[in-house]
Structure formats: C-alpha cells, structure tokens
C-alpha cells in the first residue's frame, strides 16, 4: 500500500525532474545541510543551557523566548527541503535503513521537546536564573543533544547506504529492518 503510493510518487514528473536536475537537487541538499547550523546549532546552544553546561549566567527563558523563533525558522527550512529530497526518491529512502533510523529518532526528539515545553518549562520562571536547572530540564537537554547528534549522523549516512535492498545478499536483520522484499526491488 505505502510502497505502491511511494512508487507512484517517485514516478510523477516533478519527482523525476528534481532527481535528474543538474543544480536544483544539489541546491536543495545544500540548503538542507547548511540550515543545520541554524536549526541544530541554536538547539544545541539551548540544550547546553538546559543541561547547565554552558551559558549558566544567561536566563533559560532568554533562550526559549528569543532564540526559539530562530530555531523554528531553521526547522521549517529543514522540513521543507527534507520533504523535497524525500520526494525526489521516495521509495529508495523508504527502504533506506539510515533514513528509517533518522525518522524514528527525529520523532523521539520531537516528543522530548513537546514533553519539556508542556512540563518543566511551564515553571521556568521559578528556576530561570539557576545556573543548574532542575533534573528534568537537564535530562530534556541531554536527550535532545543525543537525539539530534544521531539524526545528523544517520542523515549523512543515508547517502552511503551500504544496506541498500538492491545490494544483496544482506543479513536477514538488515532486510527486515529495511523492509526489503518484492516491492522494494528495483526501487527507482
């Protein structure tokens, strides 16, 4: 079902044009990579504050209030360019083990941020200036740092898929995790 949809999506003329373009695809990919500096960069600075590792004399709400809009802009660009890249080769990425790992950890990072903002951040006024924030804020910061590092590394490795369904034989666990099978063969 999903495979048939993605197979169709990858054969739409815009998807083919994007994948085969000489400059558009590299420009979209470059934008995706360079925006890391804005999105993950500002996230890392905020997380360093939350863990109490750096910016200990800067109030936490300065970060969550004034830097977060920049993080959001970065995320919007990452998401838009990332979706375009996915659209250029949907079925191939769907069966890419590093892409799958990236999506899973991406969702974990999102859940962690949601829990932080709905939870301990609500009482940020009480510990705003504390050099070392409360335990749950420190955990949120550490989980975020780890998750985004994994997302970046897995994201880079998508391009070097040693476990491509077309490169058989692969160990059984690889074929299971990548969902290799009849529908995956000859993906694009």
């Amino acid at each position: 079902m999903i495979e048939r949809f993605l197979g169709w999506l990858g054969q739409t003329s815009w998807s083919v044009a994007l994948l085969e373009s000489l400059y558009v695809w590299p420009l979209v990919e470059s934008t995706h990579v360079l925006t890391l500096g804005l999105f993950v960069g500002t996230t890392v600075m905020m997380d360093l504050r939350l863990t109490g590792i750096a910016f200990r004399n800067v109030p936490v709400t300065a970060f969550t209030g004034r830097l977060l809009p920049w993080t959001r802009i970065g995320f919007a660009v990452m998401a838009a360019t990332g979706l375009l890249l996915f659209y250029s080769q949907p079925l191939r990425y769907y069966h890419n083990i590093f892409f799958r790992a990236k999506v899973v950890v991406l969702m974990l990072a999102g859940a962690n941020a949601a829990i932080f903002h709905a939870g301990v951040h609500r009482s940020a006024g009480d510990w705003d200036e504390d050099a070392t924030p409360p335990r749950s804020a420190r955990i949120a910061g550490a989980v975020s740092l780890t998750a985004w590092a994994v997302v970046v590394i897995a994201g880079r490795l998508i391009a070097y898929n040693w476990f491509d369904c077309d490169l058989q034989p692969q160990p059984g666990w690889v074929n299971r995790l990548a969902g290799c099978g009849a529908g995956a063969a000859g993906a694009e």
Binding site: E29, L34, V40, G41, M45, L48, V58, L67, A149, L157
Partner: protein, 156 residues
C-alpha cells in the same frame, strides 16, 4: 606548482587509510557535520545579537564569553575531521574550484573572527552600534561562504 604537494598529501598513510576504508570517509563527514552544527550555534548566538536580534536581553560580551569554548572546540573538531577528509582525496580537491573557494575564505573567516569580531564583541555597547551590526553581518557572510563552498566540493 602546488600539485606535487597535493600528490604527497594523498600518499600519506592517513590519506590512504581513509580512502581505502569503506566507513572512514562517511563517519568523518558525519562528525564534520556535528562540528558544523555546534559552530553554527556558537556563531549565531553572538552574530544575531550583534545584529540586534536573538538574545537581545543579554549583553554581547556575556554571550561571546559563553560561546567561545564551543566556537573554538567546534573549529578544532572540524579541522580534526576535515584534514583527513582532504588527505583522502587531495588530488581531486586540487582540481575542485569549491575547495579553493573554501580554503581561501577559511583563513579570512578565522582571522576576522579572532582578530576583529572577538574584540568588538567584548566591548560592544548596548544596543550594538553600526560597527557591531557590520561585524555580525560580515561574520555570517564569511562563514556561510566557507560552509556553502565546503558542501559544494562534493557536487563539483
């Protein structure tokens, strides 16, 4: 003229080892990108502030002091991963225009950051004046060029 030097670079044991390994180049690239993230954050916190944006409630000098170890640390990490990446494909780099753009703007960006920007950030008034704004904009433009040229090495 420099070509023999680039040939020697590629013949070094480190260059050979990275080129011959299946995993080394991608892993080094991934860590290089982690460095890019930290560098981007450490630069933006201060440069946005110099432009009158971002953490405007905080003095520039305080942000710059806090960001400095991460700025230096990320640059060390990027050099430590970037040099072996370069060594593994030095001859290709020699004939790559993007590589030369990166290599020529990098020293300018480094000099500007540690000779000009650091001094301005340390004694910049609140709100930052015209000097601060120019320094923030130039810093972002220089590092953007380095990063964009770096990414384009792989495409050209």
């Amino acid at each position: 003229m420099l070509e023999p030097f680039f040939r020697w670079c590629e013949s070094t044991a480190l260059g050979r080892a990275v080129a011959e390994s299946v995993w080394a180049f991608p892993i080094l690239e991934a860590v290089h990108l982690i460095g890019l993230c930290v560098l981007g954050g450490a630069l933006l916190v201060v440069d946005l502030r110099l432009l009158g944006l971002g953490l405007t409630s905080q003095p520039v000098a305080r942000l710059a002091r806090n960001a400095r170890p991460w700025l230096v640390g990320s640059l060390v990490l990027m050099a430590a991963t970037g040099v072996p990446l370069f060594l593994s494909e030095a001859i290709r780099a020699y004939y790559n225009t993007s590589f030369w753009v990166k290599v020529c703007t990098l020293p300018v960006a480094l000099a500007f950051t540690f000779l000009v920007r650091e001094r301005v950030a340390r004694r910049e008034a609140d709100p930052p004046g015209a000097t601060g704004r120019i320094v923030g904009a130039v810093s972002l433009a220089l590092w953007f060029t380095v990063a964009a040229a770096g990414r384009w090495i792989g495409f050209s």
